[in-house]
Assembly symmetry: C2
Homo-oligomer: 592 residues x 2
């Protein structure tokens, strides 16, 4: 209520109360009755004169439009009341007649719910939500080549724990369980799947080719000094015309430069090869108007920022071969800044507004220098190629950090494998195979099956619930942890592979998939808490408190079942997902 309303209100109450008072003071005998009827003063059951609620309607206080209906309650009916919570603590509530009002600041924490006042069309409303996550149903059909679940909504590289996407291999490194950063195969695979999905959903991006070496005219290039050179040439490996460059030094100051100055396309793609030390620098403009240099250099240091205007990405120390560098400069900028600047400050002042120019230093060749709206296909293949490159002898992607699922009880030493990592990798590799027809991807996916046939205790990823139900462990601890979402991701990987491979590979994938689906159908009920889901079965396997899934994991469970429903019409998935959707809105299973 704004002050002007408040005054009116005090004024109105004043009139009524005054007249009533006068009546009680016996200075008037007839007048109050007229006012009474207007303002709903009444006699109570004992014949006493009391003032009751009345309604005030006025124009909306925010934008002058609409009519706000607001019931003002007389203070006689509304007062503070102490409330004793479970005979343990006390809070202040309000009483109004027979109704008790409890403060949301209490309710929010006590019941783990959400709420905020929002204004729509000039009305203020309080929006109460039981949960804080959103279900993105998958597309209505599913094949191994199509969008994975609703991964087009995933933004892996945006996550806090992603240190950066490396310039050496184009995949994210995480700081989740080791602040130095390491490659987490699940994250790499999800990065690949999300960009695969985004590409399908968004289609080919807008692109501007800045240089492809096909024309002799190189006048777009600005030379830093007379010693620097640039010329077109035919490349024997690529079998196409490329641009050769040579600068007077390999530092970042005197590069040959091409102006980009494009506002829409904030990604860059290029093929580049160096024979000396050298670098590529992309100069970008920020919201604040400042410029920032993003340097891609030959070092093993993933990322650094000088705190001023230079961010460095390491392309490793290898060179002399053609590399494809495909970078989303928005994230390269953000991750660099994050090393020294708070996120809210970045969002406020340091967004990327445009790519200004690109510079090359050292001696090398470049081709297909392109500004692009997105680089999803390149990012997807970077993930797939990383998986091909880093699969080990056992067909796995070992995770080189200590993982403490439950400290002292469920722990994994560095070098463990994850069924989720194996399965999500399969989903990436199958998609790369289906798109490229390159058998290597399919073969690597088949190799990834091996660890599904090895028990957790033997360094594999297979658990058996009570010795009977095969379960592919996201965290192959001993005792088993039976994480639900990781298992389902592994099943989706097996599904993708069994639908794509043939012969022995297909048979193995199919057997593992069928066995896992049998377990899932038998055990899914164990994850139902009656008002949400459990993340894992630690309360059964080690007898400690249940690990309730927070709402975004509960939503992941739902999204996964929605995906499974498309490939398996078992009734259990339908009834379960229906119930789990209800939990998001505060519904509970019945009690006896």
């Amino acid at each position: 209520m704004r002050p002007s309303q408040a005054i009116k209100f005090v004024f109105m109450v004043g009139i009524v109360s005054c007249l009533i008072t006068i009546c009680f003071w016996s200075t008037c005998a007839t007048r109050p009755l007229e006012v009474v009827s207007e303002d709903r003063a009444e006699y109570d059951s004992q014949g006493n004169f009391i003032l009751t609620k009345y309604h005030k309607r006025g124009t909306n206080s925010i934008n002058g439009e609409g009519v706000e209906s607001m019931q003002v309650i007389h203070p006689d009916e509304y007062h503070e009341l102490e409330c004793n919570i479970n005979s343990e603590t006390t809070i202040k509530c309000r009483r109004e007649g027979n109704e008790i009002y409890m403060p949301f600041s209490f309710i929010k924490n006590y019941f783990e719910v959400f709420g905020e006042v929002q204004e729509t069309d000039g009305y203020e409303r309080f929006e109460f939500h039981h949960s804080n996550s959103i279900v993105h149903p998958p597309r209505p059909t599913y094949t191994p080549g199509s969008v994975f679940m609703a991964f087009d909504y995933y933004n892996v590289e945006n996550r806090d724990r992603v240190k950066c996407v490396t310039a050496s291999e184009g995949v994210p490194i995480t700081t989740q369980w080791n602040k130095d950063g390491y490659h987490y195969p699940i994250q790499v695979a999800q990065y690949g799947l999300s960009h695969h999905a985004k590409h399908i959903v968004n289609g080919d991006p807008d692109q501007i080719v800045l240089e492809d070496g096909e024309e002799d005219n190189l006048s777009d290039w600005v030379m830093p000094d007379k010693k620097s050179q640039v010329k077109t040439d035919r490349d024997a490996d690529k079998k196409t015309r490329v641009v050769e460059f040579l600068t007077s030094d390999s530092l970042h100051t005197k590069g040959i430069t091409i102006v980009a100055a494009d506002k829409n396309n904030k990604c860059i793609i290029m093929d580049v090869k160096f024979v000396t030390n050298g670098s590529v620098t992309v100069v970008v403009e920020l919201t604040s108007g400042e410029t920032m240099n993003i340097h891609y250099v030959f070092t093993n240091n993933y990322i650094s920022f000088d705190g001023k205007s230079n961010i460095y990405y390491g392309m490793s120390e290898r060179r002399t071969h053609w590399m494809r560098l495909a970078r989303d400069l928005k994230f390269d900028l953000m991750k660099g800044l994050l090393l020294k600047v708070r996120l809210d400050k970045i969002k406020e002042s340091y967004g990327l507004t445009r790519v200004k120019e690109i510079k090359f230093h050292g001696h090398g060749w470049l081709d297909n220098l392109t500004l692009s709206y997105s680089v999803h296909v390149e990012q997807f293949y970077d993930a797939a190629n990383w998986l091909v490159q880093h699969q080990d002898q056992r067909g796995g992607w070992p995770i080189m950090v200590q993982r403490r699922v439950v400290t002292g009880i469920l722990e994994l030493s560095p070098g463990w494998y994850s069924a989720m990592g194996q399965g999500q990798a399969m989903s990436v590799l199958v998609r790369a195979y289906l798109d490229s027809k390159d058998d290597k991807y399919l073969q690597v996916a088949i190799n990834a099956l091996n660890l599904f046939e090895v028990d957790s205790s033997q360094g594999g990823v297979r658990a058996k619930f009570l010795g009977q139900f095969d379960w592919y462990e996201e965290y192959p601890t001993t005792p088993s942890s039976f994480v639900l979402n990781g298992f389902i991701y592994s099943l989706l990987g097996l599904y993708d592979l069994k639908e794509t491979a043939s012969g022995a590979g297909k048979e193995r994938a199919e057997r593992l998939y069928n066995s896992g689906m049998k377990s899932l159908k038998a055990m899914i009920g164990m994850y139902d808490s009656g008002c949400g889901t459990f993340y894992d079965l630690r309360h059964i396997t080690v007898g400690i408190e249940p690990n309730r899934a927070r709402w975004d994991y509960h939503t992941t469970h739902i999204n996964q079942l929605l995906q499974l429903m498309i490939i398996d019409d078992d009734e259990i998935f339908k009834t379960t997902v229906q119930r789990w959707l209800g939990y998001l809105k505060g519904k509970k299973s019945r009690h006896n």
Copy 2:
């Protein structure tokens, strides 16, 4: 707030508002300021004149003692705000500054919690409770002959579904799943255990012997007519002196009468034998001052009420043997009245205030006619004897009703056995044996083991979780239902028996107990919902929604674990019960 307060309050607000109003009306310039300071009216940040909170303190409205502190909030500071619940429904909340207040009428139903305004020492407080049941911890030590759990708090015969305690066998009949009434062995056993416990806790009752035949003086007896006779005699069977009676008819009008007129003792005990048709009538006085005749007659009709002043209990049609009739007349009266009168009316006007007189009709003998404060020992043995009498060839107490645990999915046909019934019976029988030293009770308890060794599918009570963990089923459905509380009761029965029996009986009981305890420790986690417990595992065995245990069953689970902790110090019971106790107060297990 009571009307007198309300008037005072309106009056006070009236004065202030009136003066403020007058000020706004510019009819006075100086007077309001004096009032303002007294009543905490203030200028707001825009310099507008507003009335703010003030405190009212007055003497307590109930007993004139104590001081009530109540903060009254000015209407300017709060208003109604629409609240949208999960984008589905809308309720009315209150807003005060940045705080939102939600109505408890909503909270109560939405979150399934409890609350009521209570007045203590003149203060009104709102008592919020997460759950509505109370934990009665068991006694700190346990032996098979001691109080069973906290069953001294149980009042089996008080339950709505108990039609009455029969006069023929002295055990309750239930109408739970068949309105005609039937014997439910679990209920009979719990009736026995509760009275066993009450006797231990309360000790021997006060008693007044009205007649034991030991004295020749029978002048206390009032004769209805000249044909009726009463005399003492020695009874060959009982080897003691008894009273023989003969009345002119066997109707209930002309009995020989003895006056009781005792206010404290509302139970009656007697040994009685008839050779003709006959009856015993107890005349009791009600709160209303009316009298009621409770007739014990030879009929198979358990109970009836003529709607006026006669309640009839059937002692079956058998006679000519000595019977011990031990009746709690409070319940006999109540159950009779309940056939035609609502419970609240009974509580209001038809409580039993005193036993007035006892009448005998027909030809028979009586002995040990006693008024007693309680008849727990007799009630306990009535249950034990019923179990001895009704055990069948398989060692079980078949339940002759259809039981639909989940209609169409988990059903049992009449004639099923319950592991809980078997186990609770053992607990009764072992106590009867330990008290009486009569081997028949122990033998019947050992016979009751048989069905624990027979699978549910074969008409027994044993299930196996995933073929591995023995579980004794309260409801031996196929698929299994794995009801937790019934299983633990069966384990306590096995414990009582293994601790009491010797030889083969002990070995069998011990093996079954150990096997069951192993299952319980392995599976207890499956019943933990993270904020309560599950009643059974239907969500796992048949994949339907979890059956959350209502708070009184959750409390039963806690009480059972508290009992088990005394006989088995496994850590799992300690940590689990601690967590489950927390759930009663709204605590939840952590989410990830």
